[in-house]
Symmetry: C2
Subunit: 153 residues, 2 copies
DNA sequence: CTTCATCCATAAGCCTCCGTATTATATAAG
DNA sequence: CTTATATAATACGGAGGCTTATGGATGAAG
């Protein structure tokens, strides 16, 4: 249990390192890549929505958006229907970068999962999903939203 | 594959957040706790050895050591047999903090693994271990060290 | 219309984590 | 001894990540 938790922490860090090493020519970090991918498949999104999808705090997304914007990968416009909110949208440059990244990311994941069987991958997915659920992470596509949040601290 | 990799990243971040939230009263981060635990079971270690055990870069350990030292949890002394190296050793304060953390960490892990069966935990462990191996991470206690490192980049 | 709670984004501040470059020491080769 | 190479730690710089605090906007209630 404890060892698995630590293993999780280690594997995640190693994966991140490997990914960003492979993506260095493109100058993208794992989080940046995930954000661009999200915008690509969901269309323009508010920062708060990105934060929920990526399980990150609003501040983290704000910082992230700064860099994506100054790199020209996204535009950041005030939401017409709510002037507090800002909507991020993938630029052509961002979309192109994402296409370039496809080969890189696939190569990394193929290497990381080398020798891992279908069964093992499925078990990993199932286990991680359970942990994520226990940690309060929203399910990938569950509109379920009854957060009861009884603080135990 | 890609989804599992992302799940790994998310679960790890959530776990870290939850752990550090629970450990806030003690002011310990996950990495700090892991470092103290390592020193507790292995005895005094050089920073480079800590880095290998924790799968972190030398710089990360250097920063970490700064904070552990100034918090009085470890001592940092020059290695008599190599004046370049520094040896970290747990202080009494550090050992005490570690004992206090035992309850906290166990509570966190119990919560995170709630409803996860033995089989699932084992599968998770096995899968993560494979990923870690593919990522170049050393096995937990394997003196095997034939790193071939054919760079593919 | 005004008040109040809520919400979105962000500034400030701090720690984590990393790659790169540097310093100092150790070790191997000449 | 001297030079070259490798190694241990770290200064520097930068992204990631969080909490707390703030400012501006929205929306519901009066």
């Amino acid at each position: 249990m404890k060892d698995v938790a630590i293993l999780l922490h280690e594997a995640s860090g190693l994966l991140r390192r490997r990914f960003e090493q492979a993506a260095r020519p493109e100058g993208l970090t794992l989080m940046q890549w995930r954000a661009l991918g999200l915008l690509d498949q969901q269309g323009p999104l508010r920062q708060v929505a990105i934060g929920e999808a990526l399980e990150a705090s609003p501040m983290t997304i704000s910082d992230l958006a700064d860099r994506l914007e100054s790199a020209g990968l996204v535009t950041r416009a005030t939401d017409p229907s709510d002037s507090r909110a800002k909507v991020l949208e993938l630029t052509e440059t961002g979309a192109t970068k994402l296409r370039t990244m496809r080969r890189i990311s696939e190569a990394v994941f193929a290497q990381v999962f080398a020798g891992v069987t279908e069964r093992e991958t499925a078990a990993l997915r199932q286990g991680l999903l359970k942990l994520k659920k226990n940690l309060g992470g929203a399910a990938p596509s569950a509109p379920e939203k009854d957060v009861q949040d009884e603080r135990e601290n």
